[in-house]
């Protein structure tokens, strides 16, 4: 006989409470994960907002004949001209130590900026002009209120003297904040105030180009063979298992392969987007094959059978009737694979794409970095201003990833036909 007096099993109220709790755990788990996502993206966005604008300082420079020879602008003492300009604005400063401190208001790159401006506008030569150049990162931080003036002088990066100078410059309208377009048009630099991501972007673009050219045709070819032509036997099973496993191999192992094979055995140029793209291609290959096979599977067999019945050879049937229908699905998979490759960092570290490179790479065999590697490098930099740059670079990276995924989704919506 069943013991109905056992109330535990029949206490409906308690069981319903348990049901309710169980549901709550599920909602909580989802909420925690999404909250983390929001916190992370929000935190990075707010850090990045500091890099949106940059600070410039106006310097009266004397471009008269005493200072430079109009026929040989390259040889002109640009650094000296900038320093002289700064001295002229504060005639009261005479001590050597103070002068050195004064020069630090402008970015160390200011002389290069001045040279560029004058070279592009030769009409300036001969006169005295007010030129806007980059301010130093410390001045930038101070202007934005990121330096606490109440701290003891030794504990902050801006001295009392500097604060007085900055204040007087500000009052005379010689300091301005402008949108930081340079961040998108400059290469890397040791100075955070002028560092930009163009070099890393171009490096990423070259690498992704190489990656796509290699992995897209190979991936599609392999998928066509495995899905349409391969005999179903142990060998094709083995290839299938192999591809699934390859997709789960840690990315750093692909970097080791690239280091040993492409650099060690084949002797290809180190740090180059060529090798980076090749390693990324090997990594995205399994993703490509799996996506392309799924796209081929989605094509109804009647397409192929119809063509075969009309006398097409198997190759004709596949290439004329199955392949075009599966193409949008394959492209979608390829874009998603490319998005993964764009965010990949570890294998690129292995093949040396971590060097400090100022120049924008102009070919696939020149040394370069990639966008995620640049993020890694900047995240390590000690200057405080670099963490804002890092966050801004992350935003740019996320922007490209979102754009690529959106294109993939739209492409799928627009081109995909359901049978």
């Amino acid at each position: 006989m069943i013991d109905l007096s056992n109330k535990a099993g029949f206490d409906l109220a308690a069981r319903n409470r348990a049901e309710w709790r169980f549901r709550l755990y599920g909602i909580l788990a989802i909420a925690v994960s999404l909250l983390f996502l929001l916190t992370m993206v929000g935190n990075i966005t707010s850090t990045a907002s500091g890099a949106l604008k940059r600070t410039e300082i106006a310097i009266e420079v004397d471009l008269g004949a005493d200072n430079l020879d109009p026929d040989d602008l390259r040889a002109a003492p640009w650094g000296g001209i900038v320093k002289q300009g700064l001295r002229d604005m504060f005639p009261g400063i005479t001590k050597r130590k103070d002068k050195k401190l004064l020069y630090k208001l402008a970015s160390p790159e200011a002389s290069f900026e001045l040279e560029k401006i004058v070279t592009e506008n030769p009409g300036l030569v001969g006169g005295v002009h007010k030129i806007w150049v980059s301010a130093s990162d410390d001045l930038d931080l101070f202007i934005r209120g990121k330096v606490d003036p109440d701290l003891p002088e030794q504990k902050r990066r801006v001295t009392d003297d500097e604060i007085t100078w900055i204040k007087s410059l500000e009052n005379s309208g010689n300091i301005r904040r402008v949108i930081n377009w340079q961040f998108l048009t400059n290469g890397d630099s040791r100075e955070p105030e002028v560092a930009g991501i163009l070099g890393a972007l171009v490096g990423s673009a070259w690498s992704l180009g190489v990656c796509f050219i290699l992995s897209f045709p190979i991936g599609i070819g392999a998928a066509l063979y495995l899905e349409e032509f391969a005999p179903k036997n142990r060998l094709s099973d083995l290839i299938e298992v192999n591809i699934n496993n390859l997709a789960a191999v840690p990315s750093i192992v692909f970097g080791l392969l690239g280091l040993a094979m492409f650099l060690g055995v084949m002797g290809l140029p180190r740090s180059s987007p060529l090798v980076g793209g090749m390693v990324l291609a090997l990594m995205t290959l399994p993703t490509m094959i799996i996506a392309a096979r799924a796209a081929l599977k989605a094509v109804p067999p009647s397409f192929k059978e119809g063509a075969l019945a009309l006398g097409a050879t198997p190759v004709q049937a596949v290439f004329h009737h199955v392949f075009p229908v599966a193409m949008p699905g394959m492209l979608t998979g390829a874009i998603i694979g490319m998005a993964q490759a764009l965010g990949e960092t570890a294998p690129l570290l292995m093949i040396g794409m971590v060097a400090f490179i100022v120049d924008i790479p102009t070919s696939i065999v020149q040394p370069a970095t990639a966008l995620p590697v640049q993020i890694f490098l900047w995240a390590d930099a000690p200057e405080r201003a670099f963490s804002e740059k890092t966050a801004a670079a992350i935003i740019v990276l996320l922007f490209f990833l979102i754009a690529m995924n959106l294109i993939a989704i739209l492409l799928r919506r627009k081109l995909e036909t359901r049978f």
Binding site: G26, A29, L34, F36, L37, I218, I252, L349
Partner: protein, 316 residues
Amino acid sequence: MPSQNFDLTKHTRPKWLDRAIILLLSGFAAVAVLVTVGIVLSLIVESYEFFKRIPVREFLFGLKWSPQTAIRADQVGAEGAFGVIPLINGTLLISAIAMLVATPLGLTSAVYLSEYSSRRLRGWIKPALEILAGIPTVVYGFFAALTLAPFIRMTGGQFGLEIASESALAAGIAMGLMIVPLISSLSDDVINTVPQSLRDASYGLGATQSETIRRVILPAALPGIAGSLLLAMSRAIGETMIVLMAAGMAAKLSLNPLDAVTTITVQIVALLTGDQEFDSAKTLSAFALGLFLFMITLILNVFALGIVRKYQEQYD
């Protein structure tokens, strides 16, 4: 009857063309296999060179990891110590923290999505969770190192705890959230393949929905769920950027999540970036570590994929 002269012989394709095309395609498929062969070969060749200098036993069971390049040949301890145990310790510690974070979050969200939520809600939440998997790991690393770690350190400080600024905890938590979608979407698929008849039978006996899930569905889906957890574990072990940016460099034996530990992947990067001679034990040891990492993840993957596959056949 008007006769149309179709000369069919004119349109025949040479047989060799088709064969050549298929051969070319099979060549592409072979590339995928060649990649695996390439990985195994290059790892084994370099590791062999390493094990000629350092005995395998010393590598596998050594308790000290401090690779150095000798400045002078006759220097004491010129070859450094290459015991992998502290690295395994660190790798497992961080992965375990990640799994502790990810398993409950991933599993409960999978259950909620597949059993409770409406189709519409699921259509929004699933892609939102998958964003977590789509964000590059270097971003997690940046967040873990610059925000999460200082936060944990500060919070611990208020309770009088001494927490390393590169604690295993910060790296583990960030990594855990990264693998949540991996667990939730695989487990979700698995739970969906459990036949409706099992649910109906359980409801028929008077069980509530949560009782059905806990006592019928989860046990039925257990092998598949175990597979998804193993895949997540393998992903955590092989993850590089988060630990490189948020975990430490010093190899030590410790099970304290508040300590700074280092992992296999961090050491591979540390050994191979910067100037390197291709022939020193220090550089070669990175390949031995790579081989070790490859084997561990391969075993986990083969095992996990096998379970998932077998499980799917069971209910088909």
